[in-house]
């Protein structure tokens, strides 16, 4: 009451919900879960237009807003968080009331129930803690800007835990927030995430249908969700798309039963795997959610005939990707699919080198694409779900 009347508290707790502005760093696993967060806050009565995401990662962003805030020398996707935080704290024309940076411990995944665990990378889940340290070590930059910093630990792979985790962290920040409405908002968030994923998968299926109809090649990207950030993945897939090849992302490959049976039916019947989403034959240490999906994507990419080329993106110092390099390459190349790897991606876009490599890929896909499709098609049974 005192805070509200005399304005000594943080603005976040004093304003009605519809007026609250929430800033979310556009980083790491927010790239694959932002639909959840937008729907969640909207269901709580916040205006979607007042949910502000930081810009795509860029060197300028880091220079202007993150300089001197870094506390850790690690992979760029985590290191760049300082710039995102800084942009939301210091770079908004209309100030945010809440900086919301979820520590996503585990992720919802299409492989849920088929793998050992669905954890985030330790650096990714703890990224908000080390980034926060850079904003509080000398003085509390959030408090100075009257911003409430909220970083709940969230187990998105265990939906029953999420309402409590989010309610505990937000009850003090969003006026009058109840557990019941938090639970309803979480349900809305998961529904939005599922709708988006389903739509994206349907779109991927359409792309494959078109490829099948014209017998055209396409390219599959194996990467972590945040490589969609132009400042992290450097839009390599965009350059390839400009060459005329449709691009698919692992996270949104079609998972329909007919497709899965076409690709994996024989393996299941022979007892090699227990389901199309079982990766234990190639990757028994299946703890990391994004790693698991990359491995599964490699298996799918090696089978789908029109995926004639697989592109692997990995950031410099990515400890989660490092043990997977050999298995992924071996899985993909085992079917004669072309494999190109862009490792050690960092903050600077190596434009010249990328151009040469994109040209190389275009050459090989153009030269060998049709032959690869024919060979891979011959290895699969009928009927093909993309042509019926």
């Amino acid at each position: 009451m005192w805070r509200t009347w005399f304005g000594t508290g943080h603005s976040g707790s004093a304003r009605p919900r519809s007026e609250l502005r929430v800033g979310i760093p556009r980083t790491l696993n927010v790239w694959s879960t932002h639909q959840f967060w937008v729907a969640f806050f909207a269901a709580l009565g916040l205006q979607p237009s007042r949910i502000v995401f930081s810009s795509n990662t860029s060197e300028e962003q880091g220079r202007n807003f993150g300089r001197g805030r870094g506390t850790v020398d690690c992979c760029y996707p985590v290191k760049c968080m300082s710039g995102h935080y800084g942009e939301l704290v210091f770079g908004q024309k209309r100030k945010v009331d809440i900086l919301f940076s979820p520590m996503i411990r585990s992720l919802p995944s299409l492989l849920s129930g088929h793998v050992v665990d669905l954890l985030s990378c330790p650096r990714v889940m703890a990224g908000p803690e080390s980034t926060k340290a850079g904003f509080i070590r000398e003085k509390d930059a959030f408090a100075e800007q009257s911003i409430r910093y909220v970083a709940p630990l969230v187990c998105l792979a265990e939906p029953v835990l999420v309402p409590r985790q989010l309610h505990e962290s937000l009850a003090d920040v969003i006026p009058g927030l109840t557990y019941r409405e938090t639970r309803a908002a979480v349900d809305a968030g998961f529904a939005a995430l599922e709708d988006f994923s389903n739509a994206a998968r349907a779109q991927s299926r359409d792309i494959l249908r078109q490829c099948a109809r014209k017998n055209d090649p396409c390219i599959l990207v194996l990467a972590r969700p945040y490589h969609m950030d132009p400042g992290i993945g450097h839009e390599i897939e965009v350059d390839l798309q400009a060459c005329g090849y449709p691009v698919l992302w692992t996270q949104y490959l079609p998972t329909d039963a007919d497709v899965m049976d076409w690709l994996f039916g024989e393996d299941i019947r022979s007892g090699d795997i227990s389901s199309p989403f079982d990766i234990s034959d190639v990757w028994p240490s299946s703890y990391s959610s994004n790693t698991n999906e990359i491995i599964w994507g490699a298996k799918v990419g090696s089978r789908i005939p029109w995926v004639t080329c697989v592109i692997r993106l990995a950031s410099y110092e990515c400890g989660m990707d490092q043990p997977t390099f050999s298995p992924v390459q071996k899985i993909v190349e085992s079917s004669g699919t072309l494999f190109f790897s862009f490792q050690d991606l960092d903050c600077t876009k190596p434009a010249g080198a990328l151009k040469i490599r994109v040209e190389t890929i275009r050459h090989y896909v153009g030269q060998h694409g049709k032959r690869i499709i024919t060979r891979k098609l011959a290895g699969l049974g009928k009927p093909c779900p993309f042509t019926v």
Binding site: P122, G319, G379
Partner: protein, 504 residues
Amino acid sequence: MSQVRPIGYKAYSPRPFLKKDREKVEILFGGLSWRAENVLQALFENLGYLARPLPPPTREDLMLGRELADIGQCCPTSFTAGNLANFLRTETDRIGPDAVVENYVYLTAGACGACRFGQYRQSYELALRGLGLDSFRMFLLAQDELDQGEIAGGGIEMNMPLTIGALWAVLCTDVLQSLEYQTRPYEVTKGQTDKVVRESVDFLCDKFRKRPYRGKKLGVLVWHLTTNYFVDALREVFDRFKAIEVDRLQAKPVVKITGEFYIQTVEGAPSYDIHAWLENEGSEVYPAAVATWFDYLFRIRAQAIAEYVGIKPRARIELARIKGLHYLYGWAYNRLRAALRNIPHEMPSQSELRRLAAPYYHHRLQGGEGDMLIGKALWAHLRNKAHMICELSPYGCLPNTMSVGAMAGVLGDHPDLLYAPLEVKGDAEVHALSRCQMVLTEAKKRAKSEFEAALEQSGLTLEMARERLDAMPEMKKATYHVPGHGWVGIGANLVTELARESGR
């Protein structure tokens, strides 16, 4: 039409190690202190296995690990993979590759989850393939399961007699190590402590080798918890320490070692020999106990279950069960510690570590030591356990880097905390040690002024204190427990104790 399946790649899967081969196949293992490894070897022998620890890891192991596996992997994996590879290569030269794959299997901890350490079977596999030993058998065991049953062929039974015995081996050697590190810096006769420790380890090995059989299930646990077998063994070890004369009337900084599990545990090349280096530089090292890691494993299990209380039926009962086991574990440690008259360091309370770390690092952030690194640094600082924290952070360690990052916030709030985070690459020793020395200089100053303050407060000069000490020969034995009087250093506490004793 039958399908041509495109998967040519299969994950490594070891050939079975059959029960009947136990007598001729030797189990290789490593990754702990030499004390624990020796006692574990004795435990394996107690259970009818042939086993031996790998040789101490060296710089050559690091280089070979990098060469055979992957240069981007974290430093502990380069050391452990290289250590195994070097041993196997030497053995291959001696007896040939066929005999090596038949005569040895490798057993190591794995499956730790979030951290990529759990995925390193891939690195070992690459190293084995690089040596042309693709069919060598390597088994990973979960570190948080007491009864994992038989593994691949039944050659090794990961049952209660083995896991509980291994746990007690670690606890016994932990308390011994703690006593050793509080003795050696002050020993009057150089080398005497090492000699006594060597004899003590041999003695403990003998006790573990002769451990009586108490079944394969719960009876084993109950026996370990209630028997005086290990307590008596440690009392005998304590008696051996009585022969060591020490001079504790010195201002030595206490340096608490924290960091990634392997690097902080293994003394030697993987940690730049930092333990020995710090002692040579005039410090008392507060080593990292493996027991604290197991204590943490209980906590993370309890934390995960606690989240489901009120959501999942029986979660409360399961939580009570884990907390009960956790309590018994702490009790068992303290019982062994008491056998050495409570001189070995206590285990910090997990709930306190969690509470201290909470403003900076969430307790459910998983991977490596989680919030413990921050918790331990603050605990040691605020509870006057050490003058300085030396955090050993391996190159490429995912979770450790994040703790080091979050420590920036801790240092903002506690600028007087002397903290030396060292990135350990295995081959950049000068840089790491000189960095450590800078902080150590401050720690030495702090220890010195604390010692002087203790003298001043007690109204003694150093000469007077020494005279009084000479008059009390019992206090010059390594087995004399200097009570804490609020100082960090044992020298300062001894000064206050001397003043108190004389005043009686």
